[in-house]
């Protein structure tokens, strides 16, 4: 067993884990944060994307022990209480999800995309940036619209905060 301590959605958590425990298993099985999903074994589908120290990471390809000391944000920690994050709201508004299984990873990837590329992202860039997230339901059409709108909304929120 190995001990690991990290911050997950703002809370410090410590546990003794088998070293072969993946970060996604740690989140799902130890912390019961089941919003982060597993859709493949080869780091391709992106259903497991979480933020590690502010960057999108595939939690199925990261050992829990590798996240020692890191700050983890999962889909459960994205909303501000009952107020949805603008990207979450955009996915609902633009019907960017059907079965919902890839959705947490999509949203976490989209937020990371905006964090890196800003609020004005065009369709081609969004499609390219979604390379590591597979959706079988939507054909991506509405996901692209949602990310575009969510990016703009995140910018709006930022500007409001800056003005205040």
């Amino acid at each position: 067993m190995a001990s690991v301590t990290m911050t997950v959605n703002g809370k410090s958590v410590s546990a003794d884990v088998d070293p072969r425990t993946l970060l996604v298993q740690f989140l799902r099985e130890h912390l019961r944060l089941t919003g982060t999903h597993v859709g493949c074994d080869t780091s391709q589908c992106g259903a497991c994307v979480v933020h590690v120290d502010g960057k999108a990471v595939k939690a199925c390809t990261t050992l829990a022990v590798q996240a020692e000391g890191c700050d983890i944000l999962t889909i459960e920690g994205l909303a501000n209480g009952s107020e949805l994050h603008p990207m979450q709201a955009a996915f609902r508004e633009h019907h960017g999800l059907q079965c919902g299984y890839c959705t947490p990873g999509m949203i976490m990837t989209a937020v990371d995309m905006v964090n890196r590329l800003g609020h004005d992202i065009d369709e081609a860039t969004i499609r390219h940036e979604l390379e590591g997230n597979i959706c079988r339901c939507t054909g991506y059409h509405n996901i692209v619209l949602a990310v575009e709108a969510g990016a703009k909304a995140m910018g709006g929120a930022g500007m409001r905060e800056a003005a205040e």
Binding site: R20, S43, K58, T61
Partner: protein, 267 residues
């Protein structure tokens, strides 16, 4: 995954000592090749020695006429580095073609070079730029470092610490992705530095990354895509799989080489 012990050394010396004394131990950097392999139970290290705690391996700096990149620099680090983008933009552009954004946040240059996957991208840049791989023990030039599929000059207990890329006059990378995996079906890195021309090919050859000497000779006369018109690599010794047989790969080597030269010239 099979069970293993996990170590997180705090110094390079400690890491090397652990690697030396633990039978069947492996280094894990970003883990983006190793962990999927272990998940499929195709690798069974007794212990993983995680270099994640060694911040001294992450730096990117310009040193004289070279860009020196720490082994633990992620693909995203390289892609975003002002140093790299200014000195060797082709290298930053290559880093952006690796995997996807989340993979680039974890995958490292050291891991990629050490693994020498015949469909990875960095080996093409290393060979194409004439890089030197620096380990905790020595310096190894790219020609000697890459020794065939998944095979390198690294000795047991040896750890890559940095990769030094001499700055070229012109360079570019053109990649044709495997439609499924997004690895390089064919990747061609071209470079001109004075009279030195290099054309390094990844993904295609059955022995991993190699230099395409015919194309280099043609480009030595004139560094222009026209010099490669009608040229395709020999289909002998090319990889063949469901996505591309050897003939198609050989053809793509020519196409990607022309596109790379075009991009390099246009820079």
């Amino acid at each position: 995954m099979y069970a293993f012990d996990y170590h997180r050394p705090t110094s390079l010396r400690q890491a090397a000592a652990m690697l030396q004394k633990t039978e069947d131990a492996m280094i894990v950097a970003g883990g983006h090749t190793l962990l999927p392999t272990m998940k499929q139970r195709l690798a069974q290290p007794s212990a993983l020695i995680d270099l994640g705690g060694l911040s001294e391996l992450r730096g990117i700096e310009k040193k004289g006429r070279a860009v020196v990149i720490g082994a633990m620099a992620t693909h995203a680090d390289v892609a975003a580095s002002d140093v790299v983008r200014e000195a060797i933009p082709a290298l930053a552009e290559l880093a952006v073609t690796i995997g996807d954004p989340a993979v680039r946040h974890r995958g490292t240059i050291g891991g990629s070079v050490a693994n020498n996957d015949p469909a990875a991208d960095y080996p093409a840049a290393c060979l194409g730029l004439g890089a030197t791989i620096i380990t905790n023990r020595r310096k190894i030039v790219a020609e000697e470092f890459f020794q065939g599929m998944f095979d390198t000059a690294l000795d047991e207990g040896e750890i890559i610490t940095k990769v030094s890329f001499p700055i070229p006059a012109k360079a570019a990378y053109a990649k044709f992705r495997n439609p499924a995996s997004r690895y390089a079906l064919v990747g061609v890195f071209v470079m001109k530095r004075g009279s030195e021309i290099r054309v390094a090919v990844i993904g295609a050859g059955s022995s991993g990354v190699y230099r395409w000497s015919e194309a280099e000779a043609a480009l030595a006369k004139r560094f222009s895509p026209k010099s490669l018109d009608g040229m395709s690599a020999s289909a002998d010794d090319m990889n063949s799989d469901i996505h591309a047989d050897s003939e198609y790969r050989a053809h793509l080597v020519g196409v990607m080489a022309r596109r790379a030269v075009q991009a390099a010239v246009a820079r």
